[in-house]
Symmetry: C2
Subunit: 386 residues, 2 copies
């Protein structure tokens, strides 16, 4: 489903769509409401082998999408969001593995979300869209994997919200997952992480153009969404990386403006990131996805319980990765995952990577990360494919 | 100027006003513009001794005011913002010292700020108010100290933005400061601190009721201001304290709402703090004061220079204090202050207090903090009063 090239890039990829849960067979969500039809936008790279044993499911973070690597066409200015990791010969080697990435349920990049048409009203859902959870996202991915004829996934891998989905996969479909790589993630959203999400949501809700979620076809709540993104963006970086990148450098001036224009480079950067985000992201999607993150609590820290038992029975192998400067999902949260997995008796490797770029470190080219992921996948593939 | 009582409280205090820089003798600000008249609201506790050698100037943080301790009347529901530290027998002992605290220039609690009447227009200043700096705040405090007939201050003390003012005092009026206690502060605002301030400012500016600063007498930009406060409030706490205080506890419910109402206690807390703030604080003041903080850079890290030389000549004694869980002005920033002061050859004590409550730890009753401040002040008073 993609053409690999010889220059190390993933070549051209194609966005595809899979629709399921057509009424009256709607998907019953975790909160009890029915949703259907559901469409997932997805992309694949590499080739599924005959044994269908080389599938790797990449799970994206809050603002990601199905476009994980490669380009759609030559004219495409830049490749997918994890092109540094996914491609021929790369950490997730598309010469060897069949890589699948779908846009999450609730998203705005082709999958069903609050901006999609509600068949019951003929209008975009807006706040009629039901509240979704990480578990609902994973259940949709399961439908896609079934559709692709894959019975067992070699590895689920993702950073941040993607790591939560990876963990949820291991609990919900233990019989289908051989290995999991949760990166810069957590088993439950902390109070501080909820707090930042709530500030971001209130920023959107405070924008009169949000209009209780009914802004499709009209003026969008771009000012509120931009501030929400600014808040998020700060949490994705680190004190250290911001000092390295911006320090107190001024933007296109040598003296303070003494007004409320941009003075510092970091202000200019944040304003730009905020504005740019509004061009590609739907404010309601941000509301729904942050709420799904806040609700996430895998409840595997108890000594026993169905989630813990499920994990144990699945017997997946784990590579857990954190970054030293990540203060949104700090290392102690990854260590908590590791502790549980070890207690259950699972095969788990853990690495805290020394990186100054904060939470976003998983998205940035990092040889240590690449080597770790590549080596782990090779071992799992070698030891489990017969 | 206050009556001390025997129950350990500071008794009743009175807010007073000092006005200076009447036209045509306006204050010329750091950015070159003229401002006048200027009023400072201030309060005092304790009694100035005959030698006028027991004055302590307390400098408040971003959203503080002159009401540092005690109550205005018996009906007052709560005392000033640092009543745990300031009072008879307390860390800053009003039986012994004469304590002064004034609302900063640019504030909205009685001192001249963007909400004050502009004599040139007869309207509130709004964005006609000139941009102010920490240095401008300190110059106004100097005018008040002169007015009170005090030639030398025993100690300047403050946390956060108050610590910046304390440091600025030592550089600008070295001959007037015997000792300084900057707490949870910095010599220059970091890129991350600027970033959070900019997100808060953009939240206010995005509120259509802000109306380019002209909202006085009309609808105030309370939604934007509330989000700005939410952002700030998160930075004043810590991951640890938020987990201790809120964790993932739900607010008045046992199951998720699966809508955008409040689910978690931390959401309820933030919304409450945001809304409460709008009742007492002016959005334009927040814009001006955060900008003053962002501009702050004492430039004492250079080997030489007028600021460093000034500090050296003043010869003030220092007690520098930081808190382990403060990530807004982390310990490394306090250590940087200490390093400079030691290099200059000044008498400097440093203590990092083990506290889980983040940046706000300086506002919370803490025996270690009280004992440190009390002991340091006693030593300075004993060794310098003749």
């Amino acid at each position: 489903m993609c053409e690999n090239t010889e220059d190390g890039s993933s070549g051209f990829v194609e966005k595809r769509y899979f629709t399921f849960a057509e009424p009256p067979d709607e998907l019953i969500l975790e909160n009890g409401s029915a949703l259907g039809p559901v469409t997932l936008a997805y992309e694949t790279l590499g080739t599924l082998n005959q044994e269908r044993s080389n599938a790797i499911l990449v799970l994206h973070a809050l603002s990601g999408d199905s476009h994980v690597a490669g380009k759609y066409s030559e004219a495409d200015p830049k490749p997918g969001w994890w092109d540094t990791m996914v491609g021929p010969g790369k950490g997730i080697d598309t010469d060897r593995y069949f890589v699948i990435c779908s846009n999450i349920l609730g998203g705005c990049m082709g999958s069903t979300g609050p901006g999609s048409f509600n068949p019951k009203t003929g209008e975009p859902y807006g706040l009629e869209f039901p509240m979704i959870t990480i578990s609902d996202m994973v259940r949709c991915q399961k439908a896609l994997i079934d559709h692709l004829g894959i019975r067992r996934i070699l590895a689920v891998i993702g950073g941040s919200l993607g790591g939560m989905q990876a963990l949820e996969w291991c609990v919900r479909y233990p019989e289908m997952v051989t290995a999991a790589i949760p990166i810069a993630s957590t088993t439950k959203h902390s109070a501080q992480a909820i707090a930042f999400n709530e500030a971001a949501r209130q920023s959107i809700v405070a924008d009169p153009n949000w209009n209780n979620g009914r802004y499709y076809g009209g003026i969008k709540p771009n000012l509120g969404l931009a501030v929400a993104r600014m808040i998020g963006h700060i949490t994705y970086l680190s004190d250290e990386s911001m000092t390295l990148k911006f320090d107190r450098h001024l933007q296109d001036k040598t003296e303070f403006s003494y007004n409320f224009d941009v003075d510092f480079k970091v202000e200019s950067y944040l304003r730009y990131q905020g504005a740019k985000f509004t061009e590609r992201f739907d404010a309601n999607s941000l509301l729904y996805i942050t709420k799904a993150a806040d609700y996430f609590d895998l409840k595997i820290h108890r000594e026993s319980g169905p989630q813990t038992e499920s994990l144990r029975q699945g017997g997946a192998r784990f590579l857990v990765i954190s970054f030293t400067s990540d203060w949104l999902y700090p290392t102690y949260q990854s260590k908590a995952i590791v502790k549980v997995l070890k207690r259950i008796g699972l095969d788990v490797s853990f690495c805290e990577i020394n990186a100054e770029w904060g939470h976003d470190a998983f998205l940035i080219n990092n040889d240590n990360l690449t080597v770790l992921v590549k080596g782990f996948l090779e071992r799992v593939y070698r030891e489990t494919s017969h």
